[in-house]
Amino acid sequence: MIAFDNVAYSYGGGELLSEITLRLAPGSFHFLTGPSGAGKSTFLKLCYGDLMPSAGRITLFDRDLRSLSRDDIALTRRRIGMVQQDCQFLDHLPLAANVALPLMVAGKPTVPQDLSDLLGWVGLGQLADAKPPSLSGGERQRAALARAIIIGPDVVLADEPTGNLDWEMSLRLLTLLVELNRMGKTVLIATHDLNLIRQAKSLVASRVLRISKRRVQLAGADL
């Protein structure tokens, strides 16, 4: 689904990531951890074609990232739902329209009942008409998750999705991501919150990747 083959990424003359070889299998659940500045966000950006590797090869859905045109990358992103820490929305549109944006962009019809159900699933059913600037951090994260999955992506990437949330809200979001995984979605969560990872272990069979010294390694039992 997403495969890295000896990938490196350089930024500002220095190598941020190097010799990364891994494969995200369909239906898998991964955490990506590491200290701040280790390159977790960069890794996720490589995963959905926002950045190009400086060396090695990234394969997205069996196609070499380098061979993809700008349009191909856009189409590929419709198969990858992205939840970022600093969720950005179109502030002039109500929440429901923001969540439905991937469908609008793809030229697909929005089924009102489906949209309503999705908003209810993430606990935002009463805020469909609210404008994004009026939402709290937790509401924004859940709205971003709803937007990421409305089009039915194969993969969900989340970059520090609980970074600005309290523990209760973090667990709620984690539960939603676990539910998605049970629906067959591949999930990769970048986080430095080890408590969240430990909590997830009781909910889902997950693997933990750690970025250390520019390399991504499978983390052991020392979490």
Binding site: R70, D71, A74, L75, T76, R77, R78, M82, Q84, Q88, F89, L90, D91, H92, L93, A97, L101, P102, M104, V105, A106, G107, R147, I151
Partner: protein
Amino acid sequence: MSLLSLIKPDRQADRQADRVVPPSGHTAWLTSFTAGAMAFLAVFALALSLAAGRLADRWSDALERTATVRLSAPEDQMDLQTKAVLAVLTTTPGIASARAMTDAEQRALLEPWFGPDLPVDALPLPRLIELTETGAGYDGEGLRQRLMAEAPGAVLDDHTRWRRPLAVAASRLRLLGLLSIGLIGTATAAMITLAASAALAANAQVVRVLRQVGARDAYIARAFVRRFTLRAISGAAGGTLLGMIGVALLPSTDSAGGFLTGLGFQGISWLYPLALPPLVAIVAFAATRAAAFRKLRELT
């Protein structure tokens, strides 16, 4: 993406694309104002160009087939030499008609400079003989030599020295009008390009969000192109309407004293300015589309 697809109101995809761009901003009125002001100026440039063309044609037509023989002679020989000149002219191939102007006609010619009370009889004025050519024309040099032999005081003026600079001036005026329209179009494209680039830069967050959810560049560009094209065509329509009203309110020929004779639109030429809003829309469409794709490549 075609221009037609942008102005068809029932295109749901375009309307949806349009929604993703925030509805207001300084670029909105700037685009409309620029398109309106440029269309307003273009109406006057068009009117000037058309008027110059008509003026050139009229001057050419009026002077092209006529000539004047100016006869200076002692008073007692004036009638005799006038007859001799007329005899020469009526027997010259290529001349359709010739006649001596009356004192009243000569007085009318001089009246603008000397007033209505000019005593023509008391002044040693030359006699003016007006001739009209046939379509084949006449041999000017041969006629000059014959006049010199039959009436030494007769001078042939075929109006060339007047006609040519007037026709050249009118043609250049027409060219200047067309050049102005071209410059106005270029300036419009430049202004709309700047406004579109500024709008894209100001909406970098919108572009980021759209890209994150899988929008292609064409989709993002369409949202901005549609917005700017519609703003431009509405501004241009307003500017054109005001320009046409302005031309219609120009002083009439009589009150303008002849200098502005014909400046404006006549007959079917009143329809010509109506082509300006669609032309501005085409310019805006092309300029915004080029600017959008260029800016989107920069925002990668």
